[in-house]
Symmetry: C2
């Protein structure tokens, strides 16, 4: 049994990045002195599954921001494009969500951080997400890359807890109902 888990920040109007991928609006409001629980969230995760967009954004960061194995779901990214310095830490898989998760389960993974808008959307549609931690940043962007997208049917959630921070961030945890 393998489950997907989301931990992500959005603007109040639901964007995880500007249309060009920019997250300046988030960084400007992210008080590093506040513990938003990311380390605690990661503690029991076996690795991260993300799309090409999140991967390429991370490539621009030094040091590499993930201390867990990263799986990039992409049909277009050549595995050879993963820099040697990341060799062991990044794997590119060209597979749909359910097959990718089955492969990771066979490799012993149990709890996966699912990151990035399009990957979160496809995993939600496939019923592969067990819970979501969504942190709302107090700004309206008007446009950008949305966290959520089309679904085949309503997805009912159960609210678990909400807390707010002096910075103005509001973080809610939801379970996806079976």
């Amino acid at each position: 049994m393998i489950t997907g888990h989301v931990f992500i920040a959005t603007s109040l109007d639901g964007f995880i990045a500007r249309a060009d991928g920019g997250i300046d609006w988030l960084l400007a409001r992210d008080d590093p002195a506040e513990d938003h629980g990311h380390a605690a969230f990661l503690a029991d995760k076996d690795g991260v599954v993300m799309g090409r967009g999140s991967y390429e954004a991370a490539l621009g960061m030094d040091p590499w921001p993930y201390d867990r194995p990263v799986v990039v779901l992409s049909a277009t990214l050549a595995p050879a494009r993963v820099p040697v310095r990341l060799g062991e830490r990044v794997r590119v898989i060209d597979a749909p969500p359910r097959a990718a998760m089955a492969g990771l389960a066979a490799a012993g993974w149990r709890r996966v951080w699912v990151d990035g808008g399009r990957v979160v959307q496809s995993f939600l549609r496939e019923g592969l997400i067990a819970d979501l931690v969504v942190t709302r940043v107090p700004v309206l962007l008007g446009t950008g890359r949305p966290l959520f997208g089309p679904l085949d049917r309503d997805l009912a959630l159960t609210h678990v807890a909400t807390r707010s921070f002096p910075s103005g961030l509001v973080q809610s945890r939801y379970r996806v109902d079976p």
Copy 2:
């Protein structure tokens, strides 16, 4: 000085209604025993400004759901279409947001409940909204009528307070920064 104030519920993915206007997903999760603060919000409002969509939805309700004067902003709705039974309580104005608010200010209004997706969006773009109370309903719809829309620039907000309810609703209050 006249100010606009928003009090509205959305799905977790930001919709105030389905594409066909349906709010069954909201009604199914709205515990009438919970006080979500709507009466307290209304107590210091002089009236409601809404668009044609919200007005026509309200027309289907019996009794008429508003105990405050209602102004419908519409270029296409003929004032003659307001039922006689609502005579004094509903006025149709064909004016852009800023002119409409100036007219209401001249009539003595000070604090206005601004309701409905497109009207909220246009009032936000025009800087006519002072604060928003957004109540998140724990469901993803995938599609529908969005609360927020395009903006000319970022709108920074200040988080005032958040509370959650046993029903799973999470309500946050934001001030729009000047």
